[in-house]
């Protein structure tokens, strides 16, 4: 028979809390995936932003991920949001959409690459 010592009880309690935290964390992740954040991903592939134009809600996050073997940047044409540093392969860059409006951006390394974010309420 196993007797729960004070030490063991503490360990069991901590273990249970950890499991609880994990499940809460997972739930949070699912909730995060369920909202619009997941959709606001722009893939950089073959020297192009895909999708080239995206509509998001104010306050949403927008994330770019570079799938090319070439570094790219994300720079607002009118300097309306912070610019990224050079993104190497598989690196990401995220902004939070601000006031409603249309935001043009481009890659300052390969300026032929352009895209648009339309922010709505």
């Amino acid at each position: 028979m196993i007797t729960l010592t004070h030490k063991n009880k503490m360990a069991a309690l901590l273990c249970g809390m950890s499991l609880l935290n994990l499940s809460l964390f997972a739930l949070g992740g699912e909730m995060k995936n369920a909202d619009s954040t997941k959709q606001n991903r722009i893939e950089i592939k073959d020297f192009a932003f895909n999708p080239q134009s995206i509509t998001v809600k104010s306050g949403d996050k927008v994330t770019w991920i570079n799938r090319d073997e070439e570094p790219h940047t994300v720079v607002s044409v009118e300097k309306q949001f912070k610019k990224s540093s050079a993104l190497d392969t598989d690196q990401e860059f995220t902004i939070t959409a601000g006031a409603p409006g249309t935001y043009s951006y481009f890659c300052s390394v390969h300026p032929k690459m352009t895209g648009t974010i339309v922010v709505v309420k």
């Binding site: 073959d46 020297f47 192009a48 090319d68 073997e69 070439e70 570094p71 940047t73 720079v75 044409v77 540093s85 050079a86 190497d88 392969t89 043009s104 951006y105 481009f106 300052s108 390394v109 390969h110 300026p111 032929k112 352009t114």
Partner: protein, 321 residues
């Protein structure tokens, strides 16, 4: 393969087979020779084979290397440092060293200090010590070129974002920067300040002065759909059109392309790192992957040479494997 010369049409001590044979290496470079205001280029391998004859017969020779991309480690070439070393070894093997080198940009892949460090360390093995640089877009990624300028403009009087000129043996060299402050939707760009400087830089030169311009992105519309051109290059060329000999040397596109327009010769050099696709032949201009055993042969695959007094280009396209 025998080194015996079976066909020597040009009477230059080298035949096609011999030329292909000695092109079987990865790092590439071109030897530029100025004589009487006419530029000619030969591959390093040719020089190594041809002995002393070419450099001894000329007034000035220099060498162009390009697109080292130190720090790149993807499939197209997992060891660009090694192929850069091989290119330098070829320079060191030349019977008569070039007077100096020009590097037409993209020394590094990501502008990182440690990448510049590696570049500098490897370059120490080169017997030719004078090197003149222009930046590629990969050298100015996050700081507008500050680190590049601190390191690579020590021996010249850099203006603005790093452009300059110098004279060697009566030839006027102009180093231009067309990779900064690029505009959305546009191409490479020189900008008003640099163009005004250029106009003033050449205004007092005689029209018989041979002019060599070098910059990273091509100064002619190679393939604008891929950004392979410079939006305001026509204005620059307008200031230079009165000169009897104008040669424009670029990198960026990792392959040899040439165009001759009257007295102007445009030329792009191969990379020492990895090849890129021919214009429009791939979804994008990214690094071109080839089987490892084919890398060297591909890089050595296409070579072009000018010969003094000849307007036609000699192009060699062969699989060396």
């Amino acid at each position: 393969m025998s080194d015996y010369i079976s066909h020597d049409h040009e009477h230059d001590g080298i035949d096609r087979r011999g030329f292909l044979h000695c092109m079987a290496w990865a790092g590439t470079g071109l030897l530029w020779t100025v004589s009487g205001g006419v530029l000619a280029s030969r591959t390093l391998a040719q020089i190594a084979k041809a002995g002393d004859s070419l450099p001894a017969a000329t007034d000035l020779s220099f060498l162009q290397i390009s697109d080292s991309h130190i720090g790149f480690s993807k499939d197209a070439n997992k060891d660009v440092t090694e192929t850069f070393k091989i290119a330098l070894d070829r320079i060191n093997a030349m019977p008569t060293p070039p007077a100096f080198l020009i590097h037409t940009g993209d020394l590094t892949q990501l502008s990182k200090p440690e990448e510049f460090d590696t570049f500098d360390e490897v370059l120490k093995s080169c017997r030719t010590k004078d090197v003149f640089y222009v930046p590629g877009e990969h050298d100015v990624l996050n700081d507008g070129g500050k680190l590049y300028r601190e390191r690579y403009l020590k021996s010249v009087e850099g203006k603005g974002s790093g452009w300059y000129s110098f004279n060697k043996n009566g030839v006027h060299f102009i180093a231009l920067v067309n990779v900064l402050d690029l505009q959305a939707g546009g191409l490479g760009q020189l900008g008003d300040e640099q163009l005004e400087w250029l106009e003033g830089d050449v205004k007092d030169l005689g029209a018989d002065t041979p002019i060599v311009v070098f910059a990273h992105i091509p100064l002619w519309a190679v393939y604008p759909q891929w950004g392979w051109g410079t939006s305001d290059s026509e204005r620059a060329l307008g200031y230079l059109k009165r000169f009897g000999s104008l040669t424009v040397l670029n990198g960026h596109i990792h392959q040899v392309l040439q165009k001759v327009e009257g007295n102007v010769t445009f030329h792009t050099a191969m990379s020492t790192a990895f090849p890129q696709p021919a214009p429009g032949t791939a979804p994008s201009p990214g690094p071109m992957k080839v089987p490892a055993e084919k890398l060297r042969s591909l890089l050595g695959l296409t070579s072009v040479q000018y010969k003094q007094g000849k307007t036609a280009l000699a192009v060699v396209d062969s699989n060396l494997s």
